[in-house]
């Protein structure tokens, strides 16, 4: 338990940005506990691009809308914020490959041995998007990927997927595989990460988000769950509407 005085000290440390997780400590006689979360989530807000350049942003917004196109019921990847999601991810630890084993030597192995490239996702996107526009410019009358029609865009992406288009210096198929992983993640992850705006991805399939208690519905066999999804950032009904 926490003694009265140390509440204040812990709070002060927390506000100074210190967490207990970063240094070795001895644990004795009490379950360690201090107020506030050890590492509360960051809430990504819409706003200027943090990783992408304007040209890259045009291309990625076009791409996410082809991978998840809009339909009459559900917005596409662009409106759902998938490009913003990828932007924030590439700016963050994911983009620079934080946490991965990154000592050499780097050797090519078998598929079963897993990725062995020193290329970080950030570099993969930088090079991949540049190569994509370069390819389009030289093969589609000087137009960038974003300037192509939706059908033309689909055609280019299908050829990349099939290995029919190669880029210089970066594996085009590998880049496309990364997109096929990252774009749906943007569509289905919590809106706090920048995508799945207004929980459109969750609403589309009926996933209730971070709800943590289904005791009231586990017995309702073959009946659709009736409540709307909830994000870590909440939902619109959490804020009192002025009456």
């Amino acid at each position: 338990m926490m003694h009265r005085r140390s509440f204040l000290i812990s709070a002060a440390l927390w506000f100074a940005g210190t967490t207990s997780l970063t240094r070795a400590s001895t644990i004795h006689e009490h379950m360690p506990w201090s107020p506030y979360p050890s590492d509360a989530p960051r809430l990504e807000r819409p706003g200027p691009w943090q990783f992408f350049t304007a040209d890259e942003a045009n291309a990625i917004e076009a791409i996410v809308d082809r991978i998840i196109p809009p339909d009459p019921q559900t917005p596409g990847g662009k409106e759902a914020g998938c490009a913003v999601f990828i932007d924030r991810q590439l700016k963050g630890p994911y983009g620079s490959g934080v946490g991965h084993y990154n000592l050499g030597p780097y050797k090519k192995g078998t598929k079963e041995q897993g990725p062995q490239s020193p290329l970080t996702p950030a570099k993969l996107y930088r090079q991949g998007l540049a190569s994509l526009d370069e390819y389009c410019k030289s093969n589609a009358g000087g137009k960038t990927f974003a300037q192509l029609s939706a059908d033309q865009q689909d055609d280019v992406l299908k050829k990349i997927e099939a290995g029919q288009i190669k880029f210089d210096g970066v594996d085009a198929q590998g880049f496309f595989d990364a997109l096929l992983k990252d774009v749906p993640e943007g569509f289905f992850s919590d809106p706090i990460h920048g995508g799945n705006r207004n929980m459109v991805g969750w609403s589309m399939i009926g996933f209730p988000g971070i709800r943590y208690d289904y005791r009231d519905w586990v017995h309702h066999h073959n009946e659709r769950y009736p409540y709307p999804p909830v994000s870590i950032a909440g939902r619109v009904d959490w804020t009192p509407h002025s009456s």
Binding site: W33, P69, P93, Q113, F188, W202, I210, Y212
Partner: protein, 592 residues
Amino acid sequence: MARKLPAKDVVIVGLGWTGSIMAYELAEAGLDVVAIERGPWRNTTTDYPSNYIADELRYRIRHELFLRPEQTTFTFRNKMAQTALPIRSWGAFMPPNGVGGGGVHWNAETWRFLPSDFVLRTHLTERYGASFLPDDMTIQDWGVTYDELEPHYDRFEYLCGTSGQAGNVKGEIIEGGNPFEGPRSRPYPNPPQDQPFGHTLFAKGARELGYKPFPQPSGNMSRAYQNPLGVRLGPCTYCGFCEWFGCGNYSKATPQTTILPALLRKPNFSARDNSEVTRINVDASGKRATGVSFVDTEGNEWEQPADLVILSAYTIFNVQLLLLSGIGKPYDPTANSGVIGRNFTHQTISDVTSFFDPDKFIFNPFIASGAIGMCIDEFNGDNFDHGPHGFVGGGYMGQVQTNGRPIETTPVPPGTPRWGAQWKKAVKENYQSAMKPGTGVHGSMYSYRDVYVDLDPTYKDRFGRPLARITMDFHDNEIKQNAFLTDKFAEIFHAMGAKQIVKQYRKAPYDVTKYQTTHLCGGAIMGTDQNTSALNRYLQSWDVPNLFVTGASAFPQNAGYNPTGTVAALAYWAADAIRTKYLRNPGQLINA
């Protein structure tokens, strides 16, 4: 220069399930115990609280609660002739880190192994003849029997508050439980969890085919529970964020929710977190451990002397520490000699995804828990006659759907494009009416001469120590076993009325990028012969008698169940041997 700390009676390496059990049992015996844990302290409401733990991206996709490969990893190859390369990001298995270990983010599937699993070579040889087994299969008897472990299984289940339906109490077969299980001394402490729709449908289909389905034994609470140590758990709320996540409302059995609160009240126990043990120290004779060396996050090196060393890290780190400390003879597959690193195994799992009519079925797949599900055990271990099939081993299978998390669990029928309008439509149509069990077929992996762990000649960790090197591939026996089981599993989904069924057989080569449980086993195995085992039947090192090594590293081969129940039962068994035998007469407990 390492600074020397005051000596303790016991030093424990790693404070996960077995470290916590050992610490409690030995502190209870009056010994002065310190546990050293590589990762951080972890608390329910500050580290994985209910109001933000349900973040699939952060915890499932980005692996927040796991060891970071940059801290340490392994190298991997399928065959001895290949060059092993480092696992740069996790895939096939997820090494834990931090207080509570894998117990924080497990599904809490709490099984016992079959009585025949513990005497496997003897049993199979008697039933089928020695020539039925492949030449290079190195399965062994454990040196301990189910009957000996039964009281210790029981202790763990009552510690955890396991929710389940007994199938065999003292030899009496109980309707609704697993009729194949070994006799248990008493029922589970809690009734089974409520089952969602898809799980009950599976049970119905299985019954129609003549099987005897039963609820999976679960460490997710079917009701509030107070365990024998006085520690309480709340009722599971079916949030569907169990494996890969911590439980935000104290309803999953973990060291934090079952032992640590009681352990930390003991004045003769302390723990150091964020401190990585780099070596077990031995004296000049090489026959006695003097303690361990560890490094804290400041880079300071410390020596912790102790009379008794308990090595209770994750499977492969146990093996690596033994190799790095020069304890026991390293295994050499070519010469077929040595013990440390041999009989390394994993699990043979596969899945069947089935698609039902969206107009008729709403499964609400997000209403789930880690160990919820209905299973059958007809095809596990030696519960069926293997004679006609030409393989040994087996597994349980079941509708063990643990989640409907949408990044991971949005199955689409075969033939659907990987992206675009059609993909989006298929995701939307099938989310509520597809079934995708977490681990549908949970098969055994038996041990082979060329599947093992040693030290990598090239790649190092941040301290410059060689990484552990895994050499592993699936053998024909396991491939055949899996094909047979997967087909049997799919038949049940047919019986349930699925309109489309996709069988994902497990095939060679073993792929380190595809998740297939974290049940790495073996490498420091128990047995009766010190030429073929690292530990005696009490998990005591044959070479260094004041060293005990807990965990699945002691399994001579892996059975068709999740290992944690057996891992914990072995820890209680070893703790009991230390308390009742070793402390009275410290030394080798088996006269080899």
